[in-house]
Point group: C2
Chain length 540, copies 2
């Protein structure tokens, strides 16, 4: 009988079980249980009214994720002027909805994207930053992505642009819930730095053979080569490389064409998806503003090679918004626009991008690594020209998108979901957020805990806990003045938070990263890619 | 005949002579002469139309100058959230007019205020930072202030709040063109730090006798004491101290009452001035947010003792705007709201204010010292919700106010006026500014030159000019990465700028600071103040 009962374990039975959250959530929820339950009823009514107003249709979700741009660099006119750039379309968009002024991400591309996709801190999925060369790893097939959740609930799904979740077949977007995907197999180190033009622009000197004679080298595979470039695929099908012919050299021109293609494909997908009966979930994750070659014709006052592309991107985002208008779907589309982590500060100066308010950038647990510009627009649902100082973590979008799409019953109940439902914040406004904390990892190491305006940089192994710096990030946004004296009261509270988090992990151990042979499921591998895979497999 | 001619030197003869500018102005003007001359005709027509629309009346000018607040800390909602403060009234006001996103001031209170008052770099007037104790110095009577210029043109004038232009009679505001003035004789070191409460709050430990027994001290005048507090006066009359009785101790309560009084007096003046036939020039220079005592009841999320007062100030500024509306003068009043220099970063942490985007603060030539939030509202004249990335220097307001008030003919022609007329920028919008440079002094030392997005930290004595750091402040707002290599082309250009400035000084030598006996012209000096003056005079 028990076995039969297990076999008939149905979606509705799943729905009856609550989502499993991190310990910290329960600690806070216990203080607001009745209030939140009552508010949830209001929210459900509002969502029903919104559907009613849109012919019974649930909203489309368009999610635009920008690469490596720090808080303040997009959508804030005064800070445009600080940098000598101009992002008028993003600025306008920001005013049409809610500015999420305390959006936290993970500190790097792969982890942030994994957190959005799974609603989980990447450490739980085994995901770390995916390196540029072959790794034979990626997002495991048993992770449940937001695309899978929404697809189960009847959404059409598509992904265009950067993906960066690994080079194995199971990790590819069309195998992770997206009906259609156009994406590069890797990331911009390959696509924007590993080119002859970039070498001539003084980047990664010595990587390109033309800038190094290499006459004492034996290993010709030490420098990554033969990598797959752009792929396209449909769910259940094989992927096809579309950018490079056998023997062809990847250049800056290829990179620019690839970027233009993703923009064009996003517009095309938008048209296709808007024409269907079901609502859609469309992800556009551009590769710009990452760019390392100045083409000699300044776009922006700033003129840096990333700053210029940020202006290009602004116009492109405008084009997309215009298309949304033209298609008549603006009113029933939630558009979320944000960056994935702080700037690539290794190129400060020439890139034109710099640390602004927060210290640090990509790869750092400092605020500069994990605080980004984020805006959400949904006319009639989210108040125009509003803002929220509530803490939000990128994983919250997983849970919130699912709730808004009436898909929350498809969120798995057998694992921890870090994403908190922030629908109340979007619909009811500032001070209706349901999180006042964030755990910040660098790969598998928990580096910081944020609670309200305090942030503890956790002690490194062997360091006495009392020496751990606590920062008040309202008063010290650059995290330069540890308040050892002022915050002695907080040590135990932070330790308790670490414990609650650790106990949750003990109860729900981490998943394993997906492993496999790189590039399986690509139907037209070039000979040089086949050779690269073979060399890779020689020691696996 | 020559003598007679000199004697009959009239206002209209004065007007025929052009204003004397710094060499750099002429260098730029030569490139735009015809364009600017043509635009000036358009501007004159626009100003005439504006007067016509307001019954022939020239606009009132309300100038609110805030003390020691860095760029980004007022009027920018996203940055409110960064700091955990809320300045809704300033934010709203900012949207009603133009954000001057590249407003430069001098790096400290006295110099910035002197630059506004005279339209000249303070070095030309002999003005440096005025210290807290007696100095027997101040703004010379032969300097011509904006109040004198506007008064000659028929404006009624009033000054309320911080003044900080010296402790001698000729330097007091009622002797510098203001019909009415209510102002403290000194500044907030006396008013907000030299109190028993501030000592108990761990500030200036040892100054207050209760926190130091001083039993080996002979000199009881080493610590400033017996200073005059708040004064009130009318033009041509004597000043009267209004806050303290003989023998009374100055406390935090006195400071708070003084602040409240200035706010009240500003509202009163506004009512009085609005009731008159002539237009008015009203300056309100609050003492808040400077404050060093936390009263135990947090106002802001930030909670710092200055952050809290910034929120108080926001509400007060709102009250003033409401009064402007109530009086029905909003449409014909140019309101300019800005800070005088960067934050007092010596109190980062406990004050709640911190360096945000720019490095440094009060006293520094770094952008953090001289870049401030600045907003100008003039309905019908300045476009709503506009911004300008053009460089503006605080001295430009002198010239611009005069132009707008049809008072430019009263600007003296016998001295250098650094202030550039920025009326075109206000009326015609961004990219109509007439300055792309700023000279930055720390007291009498020229420390930096800004031109467009480049800034040279001038070589210190003995340093080879080629070692002087040039910074691109769009790409490196914190001035941390000198572009020695990238900017070698600019060395000669910056040297030429320094030369043009130096040649102007050679032709028009600096004026002398006013000197005199402190506190003359005060009718009710307390015995302790009399004694303090006597001791001061013992070595003069």
């Amino acid at each position: 009988m028990l076995v039969i009962s297990a076999c008939t374990f149905s979606v509705s039975a799943l729905a009856a079980k609550p989502i499993v959250h991190d310990g910290e959530y329960y600690f806070v929820e216990a203080q607001y249980r009745d209030q939140w339950a009552a508010q949830d009823k209001t929210i459900d009514k509002k969502l029903a009214q919104l559907r009613e107003a849109n012919g019974g249709q649930r909203p489309n979700i368009l999610y635009v994720l920008i690469d490596d741009v720090s808080f303040g660099q997009m959508g804030k006119p005064a800070l445009n002027d600080v940098m000598g750039i101009s992002t008028p379309r993003i600025n306008d968009f920001a005013r049409q909805g809610m500015s999420l002024n305390r959006m936290y991400t993970e500190p790097s591309c792969t982890p942030t994207r994994a957190a959005l996709l799974t609603g989980r801190h990447p450490v739980r999925t085994g995901i770390k930053e995916v390196k540029v060369a072959l790794v034979g790893e990626g997002l495991a097939s048993n992770e449940v992505t937001i695309a899978e959740v929404l697809k189960k609930a009847g959404y059409n799904t598509a992904h265009i642009g950067k993906w960066h979740q690994g080079d194995i077949e199971e990790a590819f977007p069309h195998n992770q819930g997206f009906d259609y995907a156009a994406f590069p197999a890797h990331q911009q180190v390959q696509l924007a730095l590993m080119s002859p033009e970039s070498a001539k622009a003084n980047n990664m000197l010595g990587w390109w053979h033309g800038t190094q004679n290499g006459e004492m080298a034996l290993d010709m595979k030490f420098k990554p080569s033969g990598l797959v470039t752009g792929l396209e695929a449909r769910s259940g099908g094989l992927a096809r490389e579309v950018d490079l012919k056998p023997g062809e050299v990847w250049t800056q021109a290829h990179y620019e064409r690839m970027n233009e293609r993703y923009q064009r494909q996003t517009l095309e997908q938008l048209g296709d998806l808007a024409g269907k009966d079901e609502p859609f979930f469309l992800q556009y994750w551009p590769l710009y503003p990452l760019n390392f070659v100045h083409n000699g014709e300044a776009q922006s006052r700033n003129g840096g090679f990333m700053a210029d592309k940020l202006e290009v991107l602004d116009a492109w985002f405008g084009e997309i918004l215009d298309e949304v208008d033209k298609l008549g779907i603006a009113d029933n589309t939630l558009v979320v626009f944000m960056a994935d982590n702080g700037l690539m500060y290794h190129y400060e100066g020439t890139s034109g991008m710099s640390q602004l308010i927060y210290r640090g950038g990509k790869t750092n647990h400092l605020e500069g690594g994990v605080r980004v510009d984020a805006y959400a627009r949904w006319p009639g649902a989210i108040a125009e020209d509003s803002k929220a100082a509530d803490i939000v973590h990128v994983s919250d979008l997983f849970t919130t998108f699912a709730r808004i799409a009436q898909a929350d019953k498809y969120i798995p109940r057998d694992r921890v979901i870090d994403g908190v439902d922030q629908t109340a914040l979007l619909l009811e406004g500032e001070k209706n957020g349901r999180r006042d904390w964030v755990y910040i990892y660098e790969n598998e190491i928990l580096k910081s805990i944020v609670k309200q305006e305090w942030k503890m940089h956790l002690p490194t192994p062997g360091m006495p806990a009392a020496a751990a710096g606590v920062y008040n990030i309202y008063r010290d946004p650059r995290e330069q003045h540890p308040l050892i004296g002022h915050s002695l009261w907080s040590g135990a509270s932070f330790q308790d938070m670490a414990k609650r988090h650790g106990m949750t992990i003990a109860k729900y151990p981490h998943n394993k990263l997906g492993k496999g042979k790189p590039y399986e499921g690509i139907e037209n591998l070039r000979p040089e890619s086949l050779e690269t895979v073979e060399t890779f497999m020689s020691w696996h």
